[in-house]
């Protein structure tokens, strides 16, 4: 038990002391998570809307693929992406292996199915009369989509939260394609794993606390946004 208390004391000291390495890791994690969340939602939300509202051949198969991808192991995604980005891989030329961009790509691959599947469910939950009413009032495709999306905004905010939660806590792909390089691709999760294995429990705990606080702050921000404007 004593090492836990010692760990907490050290974590507190690191956080209050403004340790440059700790804050560097936290900032990189935040950057990767925000970019990956934005990209996955920009792609996933329209995809979810499309899957929810359009009837096309193979729609059920597409939904099955997206739902299956929800449970895709992160290390497998990391491994496949490593194969693509490595020097001998088809995308080796862009030189992204062991960069923060590679971690973003891995995170997007993991968060995209979440954004698409959950937003499809959110849109399907909107009263179908909303879409029909927008059409009867003369709205075109884009305005109809926007009107329906506005109705589902609480559920869609939860989708964004879930996507952010996935990318900020992800370790498998970050470790494989990021390489956990100090000052370059070390994120909170990979750093926690490293410092724990090195026996630096205080540092690991400090980083873990920051991770929790980050997740909490983003959730609070989204809840505040949800709370604005009534029915």
């Amino acid at each position: 038990m004593e090492f836990l208390a010692e760990g907490l004391r050290r974590a507190w000291a690191l956080l209050l002391g403004g340790d440059a390495e700790v804050y560097g890791i936290a900032l990189l994690t935040l950057k990767v998570a925000v970019v990956a969340t934005i990209v996955s939602c920009v792609l996933g939300l329209p995809l979810g809307y499309f899957l929810a509202t359009r009837r096309f051949w193979g729609r059920r198969a597409a939904l099955t693929v997206v739902n299956t991808a929800l449970a895709f192991p992160t290390v497998v995604v990391g491994l496949l992406l490593y194969g693509m980005l490595s020097r001998r891989g088809p995308l080796g030329g862009i030189g992204w292996l062991y960069t923060w961009q590679a971690i973003v790509v891995g995170d997007v691959l993991l968060a995209l199915p979440i954004a698409a599947a959950l937003s499809a469910a959110a849109i399907q939950g909107v009263d179908p009369r909303i879409r029909r009413t927008a059409e009867t009032l003369g709205a075109g495709r884009w305005l109809t989509a926007w009107t329906v999306t506005r109705e589902a905004r609480f559920a869609l905010a939860a989708v964004i939260t879930a996507a952010f939660g996935q990318v900020v806590a992800e370790i498998g792909t970050a470790m494989i394609v990021g390489g956990n390089i100090r000052g370059s691709t070390r994120t909170l999760t990979t750093a926690v794993a490293l410092y724990t294995s090195q026996g630096d429990f205080g540092m690991a705990l400090a980083l873990g606390l920051i991770l929790v606080v980050l997740a909490l702050l983003v959730n609070i921000a989204l809840q505040v946004l949800q709370g604005r404007g009534g029915g």
């Binding site: 009867t136 009032l137 003369g138 109705e151 009534g230």
Partner: protein, 335 residues
């Protein structure tokens, strides 16, 4: 204005035909009432007229010209439909009224003027800043009609627009429509199960049953001129005097609901003020064999009564059988 021809419509490539008729037209400046039971296809027909769906078979004419499917979308802004159970979007009543106007790029000041008009006509002033969860069903329906009226489309389609309104609110709604018609020509189609609304406000009535348009409007309708006075009035139709209880005066439509007519072989001692002798001229089976419509010729007038199949058997009715139709003066509805 808008016309459907040779329509056979199915849903989701299903085998069941939900609409099947040769022609349905809305005149440029006329109100057509569409009557029929639930599930008769009224709402589907309105969706086809609203250009929201294309008929599985058949085509759409706009001002007499056939509209290719790819051009339907462009014409859609000239039609609007208020669904039977309308919904409002998130936001205030005012924002809802503005929605379609913004779609049409109408300037803010012009939109304010239009909204002011419809708000006044439908008495929505106190509701303008309310949100959908703060409205009753009747108020919500009125807002939805106002939202449609504000668009000043060439075609206005209303699916049971007064189903949640009380009589006074329904009257206000139809008066608003009449006022709009007095200002500008437009085609309107109102699906309603309230026959009274149909008779009073429509220029033409079409009946829909199981997806087919019936050339016959609902039974026992007579256009008459009511004399001045109050209470029970005698009105001559054909060679028969009908007793009618009403305070109305002048041109009206009388409707005798077929289910309110007693059928007997001999006159009954009863409170009915209308006891008419005639002869059976035909039958039709309805309600899957449980009911029978008896058509009789009474003093040069054809009347229809609905009775149970069992009653028809007990009375041993057949073509040419002498029969007595009885109904109360208060059963005659005046529109």
């Amino acid at each position: 204005m808008v016309e459907l021809r040779y329509v056979r419509h199915r849903y989701d490539r299903g085998a069941r035909v939900v609409l099947d008729f040769e022609q349905f037209a809305l005149p440029k400046n006329g109100v057509v009432a569409l009557v029929g039971h639930n599930g008769s296809g009224k709402s589907t027909l309105l969706r086809l007229l609203a250009l929201l769906e294309t008929p599985t078979e058949g085509f759409v004419l706009w001002n007499g010209n056939r509209v290719p499917p790819r051009e339907l979308r462009a014409l859609r802004r000239r039609v609007t439909l208020v669904e039977q159970r309308p919904v409002l979007f998130r936001g205030t009543v005012r924002e809802n009224l503005e929605y379609g106007l913004r779609v049409r790029d109408i300037s803010h000041s012009a939109a304010n003027g239009i909204i002011g008009d419809v708000v006044e006509r439908l008495g929505l002033g106190p509701l303008l800043h309310r949100r959908r969860h703060e409205l009753s069903d009747g108020e919500l329906q009125r807002v939805a009609v106002a939202r449609a009226l504000a668009l000043r489309t060439d075609v206005l389609l209303l699916d049971e627009p007064a189903s949640s309104a009380d009589r006074a609110a329904a009257g206000a709604l139809y008066r608003a429509l009449a006022a709009e018609r007095a200002e500008r020509p437009f085609a309107a189609c109102i699906a309603s199960h309230q026959l009274e609304d149909a008779y009073r406000w429509a220029d033409d009535i079409r009946a829909l049953a199981e997806g087919r348009l019936s050339p016959v409007t609902p039974e026992n309708l007579f256009r008459v001129e009511l004399p001045p006075g109050e209470g029970v009035k005698q009105v001559r139709i054909g060679s028969v005097d009908f007793a009618v209880m009403t305070d109305r005066v002048g041109p009206v439509v009388l409707a005798i609901p077929p289910t309110d007519i007693f059928v007997s072989r001999e006159p009954l001692a009863s409170s009915a003020r209308n006891v008419l002798r005639g002869r059976v001229i035909g039958f039709s089976i309805e309600l899957r064999g449980a009911g029978v419509q008896v058509r009789a010729e009474v003093g040069g007038v054809e009347l229809i009564a609905t009775i149970t199949a069992e009653a028809a058997r007990d009375l041993a009715l057949g073509p040419g059988t002498p029969v007595v139709f009885s109904f109360k003066a208060s059963a005659v509805r005046v529109f």
